[in-house]
Symmetry: C2
């Protein structure tokens, strides 16, 4: 239905403006764009930190107002939910409406792990820090700025880069006297890194305002070859917090060792049971629901340039999982990842104790056919199969005395995978418009996640993603960074999309 | 040789003073003793923190000087080593010399985990905190002090309680006009919790000063039944820091998950391989060197009152390891304990990353026949057997590219187990003297560790331990505490030992 409607619209389109050539303007204005961007990055944006999230939203509203984009905050009505920032550039006579999406919130930070500097004090470096990049002053002249420079800060790449690319592309079009080839709506989410818990409610509430023919998503890293990526789909994701219990108080490992059960050892055994040595998930039925790729999608995956050897070399890996299969092929499958484990302390703070609790952070990635609730259920059944009583909260003392092995499993608000067909007009249009601007890799599904499923479910629109940040950006971790050449390209691509046929 | 010499000394002994009845004096002076003790506990004493360790040593020298114990600091000559505090009370005509030992250093602290208050701000509570114990002012009158009160601070029980018991017992004897039944030497170690890395050098250097017929060790918790314990032996111990490596920088779990090896999962698998489900260590040869208990020792273990059911109830454990065998029996065996694990973050700080490193802290406990170097070698061979290249330092980039699985294994300075025969005169003497003062459980080997092996190796003397702190003291962990009734008993027992036949 979507496809037919889009196709008929294409047939009705008047002649639209040719793609704007905005790179010269971008290059002439690099210093100013960079200064604006640094200002945006200094506002802490950890998802869920609502007071600071609102400071970001207000700042972005100010940036949009200065560009005449009629900005406003969209709310769900729930004061604990982050607002989205909405703006628009309506074009008289336009027969299409598209929404450009980015998100302005970021992943949590562990400041003590940041070597470059505090996560919300942006630092400019002459190249990647671990390759010797030195700290630079913010330049006042555009000519001095080198593409290999890196800007270090939380969300420098994920995903304030998307926000900045869209806003600067508007500047570039205006400077060139151009306008978009469709009614342009901008939707900037404020809680993507928290799993978009309120996105469905937000979209449903503002359904009329957000009416469109499709969404283009600016988020994610480029291909390790350096090519920008057009992404037709994303994996779904659901986070799971897991806790295993030992004695109610920490015990001296000498006086009680090899008598009291050790939750760190129990957690290790449980995690080890979840995957085999080749990295295949051993949870029963984990791969059962998967909808296979079409022939055309499979060929697209095979056409992705192989960078596995280079990546292994760069990352210091002598071998990778999946029995020799390529990265591009493996991310078409559901996964189970251990994002963190913790029990008592190690290193200088390590002590000879039996810990009281051992915790793990897991994330499950989903592909087409998987359902996030069902996937967690499979995991719970697996944990039960290992002998555990599974609870969704900490056990009571009575429960501890009753069950020898207790696991608390708390799933976050997840969402399913989404994929737009390679044959869909929106896909065809974006691929054609961005090919000459550096986005040459076509991925049926990227490894990361975006709540595109929610768009399909709530608004019945297709979506296409553009992944343009440097792949070595430390996204989600300490020392996140953006290569400046990649920022300029992202702006250029955003302008190309805004003026696409 | 030792045994014969000691026995002949016993035959030659003149009539020695009867055991002093000092409890009335202790009870009348509880407020003053408590105030002195709180002052000692406010000085941070994490093993290895040499400036603060020296502040402790100087403070204790002051306490001993006030009691006429001719104190001095013993040094090894290495400025990075902690001094020991030495004092003495020589008795004209005495034919025996004994050394009383305690240690004034403490385990590391993670202040954020302490619920009672900062670890070096002692807090007095009306009972155990998790049973509702409320904060109390330090009392000015002894009569008001209740035995069930608890003093919370690092080393409140382990082992400044030993230091305080010895010093207060000297006060008690002097107040009663008594003197020890032997030349009394006091040796207070300052790096026991660091594994006593310099103890052998210290003892060798001060061999003449420390010449004695035996050592009595004040350290360790009482039996969970509440009875004080005479401990004939201790397990040896060696700490092992283990690190497993993933990619050199943290990776987004979506874009690289199920391709890049995950060190948290690798560590889990490795740890799980080290023990079976019943808690038996699966490292080849782990139990091979063990010297079995004698019949008399085995009977002593069987005579230890069983508190397993009560402990399980108190600790919230539905089951324990060792296939149903008792705590007293299990601590006669070598063990492998996971004291802590850490990779990236969990809970609120958890992120969807593939971590770069996963770390574990292990401790191996040893019994008679084990050797700490050999036991670590067995563990290293086990890790190699799981497919790892084992290094004693972090890998280079070239090594990461060469070996798919790399583990760094760093063993601390460990020591072996030690056991004094139940038939030894020192054992007989201590058992007889302390039986009526609450030390009624006789343990051939306690679960915890003390460097008594070093005493035997360096000075060729036997040793007997007295373990008197409350067993639920959170020793080595957050919220360490001492029950005040146990402090008074420890002083009483120390006085009984000083005047034993």
């Amino acid at each position: 239905m979507i496809r037919a409607r889009w196709a008929s619209l294409l047939l009705l389109l008047p002649t639209v403006p040719a793609s704007a050539q905005v790179m010269p303007w971008i290059e002439a204005n690099r210093a100013r764009i960079l200064a604006d961007y640094v200002e945006l990055l200094t506002i802490p944006n950890v998802a869920g930190d609502i007071p600071n999230i609102r400071r970001n939203a207000d700042h972005i509203v100010g940036m949009m107002r200065a560009r005449g984009l009629s900005p406003r905050l969209l709310e769900t009505g729930d004061p604990s939910a982050a607002p989205a920032v909405y703006g628009e550039w309506l074009v008289p006579g336009a027969t299409r409406t598209l929404v450009l999406y980015a998100h302005y919130d970021g992943q949590p930070v562990a400041p003590e792990d940041w070597k470059s500097g505090p996560p919300f004090t942006p630092v400019l470096r002459s190249e990647r820090m671990d390759k010797g990049g030195e700290v630079l002053e913010l330049p006042s002249e555009s000519a001095a700025i080198r593409p290999e420079w890196r800007l270090y800060a939380r969300s420098a790449s994920d995903d304030k880069a998307g926000v900045m690319a869209i806003i600067a592309a508007v500047d570039a079009l205006k400077a060139a006297g151009k306008r978009p080839s469709f009614n342009l709506k901008i939707f900037l989410e404020g809680e993507e890194e928290a799993g978009s818990p309120n996105l469905a409610a937000m979209l449903a509430k503002h359904r009329e305002l957000l009416r469109s023919d499709g969404w283009v998503i600016f988020d994610g890293p480029d291909h390790p070859s350096g090519a920008g990526q057009v992404v037709l789909g994303v994996r779904g994701v659901v986070g799971v917090d897991l806790a295993i219990y030992g004695p109610v108080r920490p015990l001296h490992s000498g006086h009680y060792g090899n008598w009291a059960p050790n939750p760190a050892m129990m957690l290790s055994r449980l995690l080890a049971s979840m995957k085999d040595e080749k990295g295949r998930v051993a949870v029963a039925g984990f791969y059962d629901d998967v909808v296979p790729l079409t022939d055309r999608e499979r060929k697209a995956v095979e056409a992705v340039p192989s960078v596995d050897d280079r990546l292994r070399e760069d990352l210091g890996l002598a071998a990778t999982e999946g029995d020799g299969r390529s990265l591009a092929a493996l991310i078409q499958e559901p996964s189970l990842n251990v994002g963190g484990i913790r029990s008592a302390d190690v290193g200088e703070s390590g002590r000879n104790v039996i810990p009281t609790i051992a915790e793990a952070r897991l994330d499950l990635r989903l592909v087409m056919g998987n359902d996030h609730v069902r996937q967690v259920q499979k995991l719970v059944r697996h944990i039960e199969g290992q002998g555990y009583k599974v609870l969704d909260r900490a056990p009571t003392m009575a429960e501890r005395r009753q069950w020898p092995m207790i696991a608390t499993v708390k799933a976050g608000s997840g969402y399913n995978a989404e994929r737009t067909s390679l044959d869909a007009p929106l896909a065809t249009s974006v691929i054609a418009a961005t090919r000459d601007h550096g986005a040459t890799v076509i991925l049926p599904t990227m490894g990361g996640s975006l709540p595109l499923f929610v768009l399909r479910e709530t608004l019945a629109v297709p979506s296409v993603g553009l992944a343009l940040a440097n792949h070595d950006n430390n996204q989600h971790a300490e020392d996140e960074n953006l290569r400046l050449g990649h920022l300029w390209r992202a702006i250029d691509v955003a302008a190309a999309v805004m003026t696409m046929r």
